[in-house]
């Protein structure tokens, strides 16, 4: 509430965006991760193979992650939509996307022909630029949401 009253003073373009727009972004990003997680929950062995294709982690760790990460995506997606454990969900998702982006770029540089498996079979025919564009868009949205939270908190602390 306080942050809303002081938004013009914040002199930030992000703070001038209406509240409902942020809620829409929360819900869209949250739903993307719930969808991505749910697809992978249905076929964890395929996701383990997708992780293995990056040739970064041993198979055993990849399998462990294949069972864990989809549920983490779902819970964090729900956190964004329900605004419960919001900060935690936001930070985990930002870290996940950043790591995934780095792994994708590294795989491309190493000449690996990877299927990211991010959206199950729906994404298996996507090319590298399409993957990159979507990941960057999601990362941008997550960073914007994080910035909004941090700047809002600074204001609350200042008042």
């Amino acid at each position: 509430m306080v942050s809303e009253m002081n938004q013009p003073a914040l002199n930030s373009q992000l703070s001038t965006i209406p509240q409902f727009v942020w809620r829409v972004v929360d819900v869209i990003v949250g739903r993307i991760f719930i969808y991505a997680g749910a697809i992978k929950v249905l076929d964890p062995v395929q996701f383990a193979t997708d992780i293995d294709n990056y040739k970064i982690l041993p198979w055993t760790i990849g399998v462990g992650l294949a069972f864990y990460l989809p549920w983490l995506e779902i819970f964090c997606g729900l956190a964004l939509i329900l605004r419960r454990l919001y900060l935690g969900g936001l930070s985990i998702l930002t870290a996940l996307v950043a790591v995934f982006l780095a792994a994708t770029i590294a795989a491309k540089i190493r000449g690996l022909d990877i299927t990211c498996g991010c959206f199950g079979h729906a994404s298996q025919n996507w090319n590298f630029p399409a993957h990159l564009a979507l990941d960057l868009a999601i990362l941008g949205a997550l960073l914007a949401l994080s910035f909004r939270v941090v700047s809002g908190n600074r204001l609350q602390n200042a008042v």
Binding site: V41, P44, V45, A48, T49, D52, P58, W59, T60, V63, G64, F67, Y68, P70, W71, L72, I74, F75, C76, A79, L85, Y86, L87, G88, G89, S91, I92, V149, V150, N153, N157
Partner: protein, 143 residues
């Protein structure tokens, strides 16, 4: 303030996600192998493969120089570097009654899995198995 609640929330979410993940891993336990991307039903141990005796065709998926140095007695070379050249030679020696046992250098190598996958998909061969532990395991059990 923000930092401490962020860490607390992140830890809570990470723990929450662990629970269904663990349950699912137990449920799917028999559908995959923790040791290898190849399903457990497509793996074979050295002891099992040896027991097949004459009913097994051994395939060496390692590079040519490693095959030339040493290999399982009677094994045929079939690696991806010279796939189109070696595949016809292998198929000429292959018999449908025999099981195919493919190995590469060790547990961590990938060549045997790749060759097994290609033999199943491209050559439509049944009874193709990957040797657990590869050449290293063969050497250990041969001592």
């Amino acid at each position: 303030m923000v930092k401490s609640s962020l860490v607390r929330q992140a830890l809570l979410l990470a723990t929450l996600a662990f629970v269904p993940g663990l349950v699912q891993a137990i449920y799917f336990g028999d559908k995959f192998s923790w040791r290898s991307p190849v399903p457990a039903s497509e793996m074979v141990t050295v002891t099992q493969a040896r027991a097949w005796g004459e009913n097994a065709t051994w395939v060496d998926a390692r590079p040519d120089n490693e095959f030339a140095r040493d290999h399982v007695p009677g094994a045929l070379p079939l690696n991806e570097d010279r796939w189109s050249e070696l595949l016809p030679q292998f198929l000429a020696a292959w018999s449908p009654e025999k099981k195919v046992v493919i190995y590469c250098s060790s547990e961590g190598c990938n060549a045997s899995r790749e060759v097994a996958q290609r033999l199943r998909k491209e050559a439509q061969l049944p009874n193709v198995f990957v040797l657990e532990g590869g050449w290293e395991e063969w050497l250990k059990t041969s001592r």
